[in-house]
């Protein structure tokens, strides 16, 4: 009660632009990038141990909602960010790919943990040796499992991507080529 300071609310800084009395001009790309970066809806594709660490990241202690991602979108149609957390077995691989294909552009992929990045300690006949064999990955978060701080850092790297990404990148021939190399669409 004694503490009646106004809590410090951090808001997102406005992008670069021209400011004057009653107007602010910037490029549409930057505004959209800012909006996208601060409301990434993740699709938590949690398969194993890393999923528990993601639960800790979602929980009150680490609080992923500080980054605008508190709304896990379990439907791929509304998701911006596919977070693959945990081992992907070969039996599961087609499902990951299908989920990725169902997501709408723009879409980003975060591979969380050693298993999703490279297969981790499970160099065995049944485990896919890294999800980048089936879908393109934007950010890799190492660790077995990564600490929640690392997951948040990975999320911030995705935010950087989202913020700076050009509108047209997803139509670029390089991007189309990348998707074609994964045999997507």
């Amino acid at each position: 009660m004694a503490d009646n300071r106004v809590p410090e609310i951090k808001t997102v800084e406005a992008p670069e632009g021209v400011e004057g009395a009653g107007f602010f001009a910037t490029s549409l790309e930057k505004v959209v990038g800012m909006a996208r970066a601060n409301s990434l809806w993740p699709l938590p594709f949690a398969t194993s141990c890393c999923g528990i660490e993601f639960m800790a990241t979602m929980g009150s202690h680490y609080d992923i909602s500080r980054f605008g991602s508190e709304r896990p979108s379990f439907s791929p149609r509304q998701a911006d960010l596919l977070m693959v957390m945990g081992t992907i077995a070969k039996k599961m691989a087609p499902i990951v790919k299908q989920v990725y294909e169902q997501m709408a552009e723009p879409r980003w992929v975060l591979a969380m943990g050693a298993c999703a990045c490279s297969g981790g300690i499970f160099d065995s006949y049944s485990v896919l040796q890294g999800i980048d064999r089936i879908i393109p990955v934007d950010v890799y978060v190492p660790g077995c499992p990564p600490r929640p701080e690392q997951v948040l850092d990975g999320l911030m790297r995705v935010q950087d991507l989202a913020r700076s990404e050009s509108f047209r990148r997803r139509n670029a021939p390089e991007y189309q080529e990348l998707l074609a190399s994964y045999n997507i669409k």
Partner: protein, 186 residues
């Protein structure tokens, strides 16, 4: 079964002798019920009575133990396959762990059979839990359980054409190129 019967008070660590005596008792009962010739290689590694029998007898023995009013082996703890490629004619094996909760006796039964003819009677008619355990053994070792209601692969993909837990197959994923390094590879 009356749940109260399985109540077990915290008991002091039992010395070597009571376990031996108990095992001898169980073994005596087993030989009385199923004949002396049924069991070979009887020993007690780390206090757990272990006996080897044949696949022709295994169903009868486990059914008998389950119905036995004195011992009440109601609980199938686990079962697993094993592969000894050098034991010609007995390459594959199944190992059953039974548990009598009322008497707190554990029992391990083994059977061995040739890899060319891996056919074993199912226990699904005795224990519901045997269903998936047998599917796992089929998946890993290719043991075929006659009478099993749904003997298909359980953990691996359906179109896998080998049984990966057999000793001859490698564990590693064959598609890794980054591990072929001479010094820092596998």
């Amino acid at each position: 079964m009356n749940p109260q019967e399985s109540a077990a008070a915290p008991e002091a660590p039992v010395a070597e002798d009571p376990i031996k005596a108990q095992n001898a008792q169980v073994m005596a009962l087993l030989t009385r019920l199923f004949g002396e010739a049924t069991f070979t290689d009887v020993h007690e590694p780390y206090g757990l009575l272990t006996a080897t029998t044949t696949r022709e007898k295994i169903h009868e023995i486990i059914a008998g133990l389950q119905q036995d009013q004195e011992l009440k082996f109601h609980f199938l703890t686990t079962m697993c396959g094993i592969n000894y490629p050098e034991n010609v004619g007995k390459e594959l094996g199944m190992i059953y762990h039974l548990h009598s909760m009322t008497k707190n006796i554990r029992l391990r039964l083994k059977i061995f059979f040739p890899i060319a003819d891996p056919v074993v009677p199912t226990l699904t008619d005795l224990y519901n839990t045997a269903n998936w355990m047998e599917r796992e053994a089929y998946d890993f070792f290719g043991v075929i359980f006659t009478g099993h209601p749904n003997l298909i692969r359980i953990l691996n993909v359906e179109d896998m054409d080998y049984h990966p837990m057999r000793r001859e197959y490698p564990v590693e994923d064959g598609t890794r190129e980054d591990k072929t390094d001479l010094f820092f590879g596998r």
